[in-house]
């Protein structure tokens, strides 16, 4: 069996980290730091690259379905349509398809956010808080948080 991708990335990272120690050119060092960031993210996300997207689609669809129950007719239709489109693509695990689905759901999510911002009902505020919690959890999962100095 070939070495798994994270193993190969590990080997590349070790070599790059050694190379960067002896590199004196500032531009080349910055490019190497950039490459190391990219490889680290790839290594971190490799195993869950499809499953995290599938999960994201499921969570967003669930939020939109709940939003559709609360929203006025026109918004309800567009939220329902977005969820329905996502369900049609279920099973297609190509990254490009998953990312396209996520983008479509995000557009609906923004519409829902805008409506929730002026909705003061208890259910509306609870859904709004959950939506923010989802966005924060996603940002936390994908943040790099590597300080330059």
């Amino acid at each position: 069996m070939r070495p798994a991708i994270p193993v190969a990335i590990d080997a590349a990272l070790r070599d790059f980290k050694n190379l960067i120690k002896i590199e004196t050119d500032a531009n080349k060092r910055l490019n190497m730091i950039a490459l190391i960031t990219f490889l680290n993210v790839l290594k971190r996300d490799w195993d869950t690259i499809a499953s995290s997207r599938v999960e994201e689609i499921e969570v967003m669809s669930s939020l939109l379905k709940r939003g559709a129950e609360l929203a006025p007719e026109q918004l309800r239709q567009s939220l329902t349509e977005a969820v329905s489109q996502a369900e049609q693509n279920r099973g297609d695990l190509r990254m490009s398809t998953l990312d396209t689905t996520i983008d479509r759901l995000k557009i609906a999510l923004i519409d829902l956010q805008i409506w929730l911002e002026s909705n003061s009902t208890e259910e509306g505020q609870a859904l709004h808080a959950e939506l923010y919690s989802f966005l924060k959890s996603k940002a936390s999962r994908l943040a790099v948080l590597r300080k330059m100095w």
Binding site: N27, A34, T37, V41, I110, A129, A143, K147, W149
Partner: protein
């Protein structure tokens, strides 16, 4: 990118042919790292001026880039060096000359005197800065206060730059950066759009005055030595507006040290930095203004990452620095943006 020998020859020809200097010798030309927005050269040259004075200059040439994360304006940056060069307490390099014609060096450029000092913030961890680091952090906010204290009209900058009112300075900046984001569309961005809506729903109080705003005032954008800060650099995003904007940018989590989380410039609490700034500027920081500009800082920084992501995604300039700016920063910024939004509202 040009070779050093080519730059030496072309600069010698420029100093002779365009500026009328005689007996020009360009003895050294070295491409250095000067940020992402411009190609930067260190040059050593000497010449006889038209009135026969022998002059030696170590200078920095800042050449226009084919692409930058910033819509940089050479004339604005040069004008800022000219405006602040005579101002006591605000150290900047001496502006030397500016050239719009790309013919002489291959790109339009300007030149300023070279200052000795470190810019990379990591240097502050060296033993030689053990005592000086805190002083440098304080000086950073004294200088920023002095920048805010200047009268931008007396400096002639109101003739060069758009002049917002104290009431709409925030809107001008928010419109500008939202346009950058729209022009560099990378798809739907729920966190960013929510932050922009919140900023519009809850505007800040009027600016305490209309000031010069550096626009990128942070550690890394000034030169320092153990005796203190010797030059404030990178004025290409400078404009007139609310001086609290610079405080928000200087405080951003993006620039914090790994080993000093929450500390501004690695040493100060936000309260300490604000007090120093207030003493130097004679102005007061309204907490609501600080909150607004802190959230705005996330939007502005995000606009830079979106620009980089767009340029890489569309193949306009698929360089590692563009992919890195996006990969490294976008979700960090979203996380901070959500924190600074303070939850649902």
């Amino acid at each position: 990118m040009k070779q050093s020998s080519t730059i030496q020859e072309r600069l010698r020809d420029y100093l002779t042919g365009n500026l009328g200097f005689k007996d020009v010798v360009v003895s050294h030309a070295e491409l250095i790292f000067g940020g992402f927005s411009r190609e930067t050269w260190r040059i050593d040259a000497e010449w006889l001026t038209a009135d026969g004075v022998r002059t030696e200059k170590s200078m920095i040439l800042r050449l226009d880039p084919p692409f930058s994360l910033l819509e940089s304006n050479r004339h604005v940056e040069y004008a800022m060096y000219k405006a602040f060069w005579p101002v006591p307490g605000v150290p900047v390099p001496e502006p030397l000359f500016i050239e719009d014609d790309p013919e002489p060096l291959g790109m339009a450029f300007f030149a300023m005197s070279r200052l000795d000092g470190a810019a990379w913030p990591g240097e502050l961890r060296q033993p030689m800065y053990k005592e000086a680091w805190s002083k440098i952090a304080c000086q950073m906010f004294q200088i920023l206060g002095l920048i805010a204290a200047q009268d931008c009209r007396d400096m002639g900058l109101a003739d060069l730059l758009p002049v917002p009112s104290v009431d709409n300075a925030w809107a001008v900046e928010l419109d500008k950066w939202e346009k950058v984001i729209n022009d560099n569309d990378i798809g739907p961005l729920p966190v960013l759009r929510a932050a922009i809506r919140k900023l519009r729903r809850e505007p800040p109080p009027p600016a305490p005055k209309l000031s010069v705003v550096h626009g990128d005032y942070r550690i890394g954008n000034y030169l320092y030595i153990p005796e203190g800060i010797v030059g404030v650099l990178d004025w290409e995003m400078a404009h007139l507006g609310d001086p609290i904007e610079d405080l928000g940018w200087a405080f951003a989590k993006n620039w914090h040290f790994a080993k000093a989380p929450g500390k501004i410039a690695g040493k100060l609490t936000a309260g300490e930095a604000i007090r120093i700034w207030e003493d130097a500027s004679g102005l007061k920081v309204h907490p609501d203004a600080m909150r607004w500009w802190t959230l705005f800082t996330n939007v502005k920084a995000y606009a830079l990452w979106v620009t980089a992501a767009n340029k890489a995604a569309t193949g306009f300039t698929r360089q590692l620095i563009n992919t890195d700016a996006a990969w490294q920063n976008m979700y960090d910024q979203e996380l901070w943006m959500l924190e600074d939004m303070g939850g649902v509202s």
